[in-house]
Symmetry: C2
Subunit: 228 residues, 2 copies
């Protein structure tokens, strides 16, 4: 469902040019759960941003459902992203001036559903990530780990075919992390959601089907834990 071909990302130019990704080839099957691990600065977020079409590569291609996404026009690309991808940012990117509930409802506003249904779906998602009772808090009135979970709820509420998560348990204690992984596995099992998680936590990585090891912008090796 997701495939990259010789993917490059270079920042800066000339003497200052820095290659964050140097020819990454990755294939992810539909319904697979993949972890991307590697040292700080090795290019994980850069890779995820390209997979989520939040940035353009310097060279190479990204295919989603066999569509070469960077050959689409802006509108078509935005449409694909909204319909297929749920993204959880390393820095959450929540809207600070509205409540947690509103933040989770926003991606549903582009769907053809009633306001009551939208509210019900958002409430259910916030409960599923353990934030019952915190719906009306603004992001600044939530702890770091609570904000992280609002960002996840927002990504999952649209039932995306692909979930891209950047360090989604970095601010969570181990018990809450396990509950979050259980939720994600349920999505993966019942809805066949394809999941790509960037993580520094090997205990999280070991709960996926395959681990991709990144180093200095390149795939160093892959480790298959569960054939799918």
């Amino acid at each position: 469902i997701v495939k990259t071909l010789d993917l490059w990302k270079v920042y800066g130019r000339g003497r200052l040019a820095f290659s964050a990704l140097k020819g990454v080839n990755l294939k992810v099957k539909r319904g697979e759960m993949v972890a991307v691990v590697g040292p700080s600065g090795s290019g994980k977020s850069t890779l995820l941003n390209l997979l989520g079409a939040l940035d353009h590569p310097t060279k190479g291609k990204v295919f989603i459902d066999n569509i070469d996404i960077f050959r689409l026009g802006d509108n078509a690309l935005t449409e694909l992203r909204n319909r297929k991808i749920g993204f959880v940012f390393q820095s959450f990117n929540l809207i600070q001036r509205v409540s947690a509930l509103k933040n989770v409802e926003i991606p549903l506003m582009m769907r053809n559903i009633s306001r009551e249904k939208r509210r019900r779906l958002a409430v259910a998602m916030l409960k599923a990530v353990g934030l019952d009772g915190k719906f009306n808090h603004k992001p600044t009135e939530l702890s770091g780990g609570e904000q992280q979970r609002v960002a996840l709820a927002r990504a999952l509420v649209v039932r995306p075919s692909i979930l891209l998560g950047d360090e989604i348990t970095g601010n969570l204690d181990s018990k809450t992390s396990m509950e979050i992984m259980e939720l994600i596995r349920r999505f993966n099992k019942t809805l066949k959601t394809t999941v790509i998680l960037v993580t520094h936590n090997m205990q999280i990585a070991k709960q996926t089907d395959r681990i991709v090891y990144l180093r200095d912008g390149m795939v160093e090796r892959e480790e298959i834990l569960n054939r799918k």
Copy 2:
């Protein structure tokens, strides 16, 4: 060197009132390294913010060097904070429009040192956290873990007597986390820096002298690892 007495923090009022801290009593000796752990939402950041005088308690006291800090006037409190405390925020709080180097130089601007010395100290600190070659990057041009390390460099460059760190390894791989802890331990050993680290990582917590377990705004128990 740091002591809290029946510390309370209540958000909201009346029916909506939520007690994030409910009577916390904590004593930290000079030169001690303490970890504060607990579930997401248990009050860790709230506690750290009060210790760093970034917020006011609803009830109770915080003593730093036997000074009841919330009885100080605003100017005196700001002065104490700038002179004695280095704070690393869970969300980094870097200044987005200036470089990593400038971010680390800023706390030194209030000291009576030359511009050259200020630059040298900032460069040395950034190298110490593994960011050689990234001095001129703005925060948006850095990875999550690199931003986290700039925030730590900024806190340490003033050689504070007290380092307060909120999840300082949450975005780091284990190798980089170990290097960061080594740096902090060096400060603790050679400069007698008192260190209080909020963390979700038990491997980090086990490298301190004592672990304080927080749950629902209260100290559940403490575990002494190394008597000081």
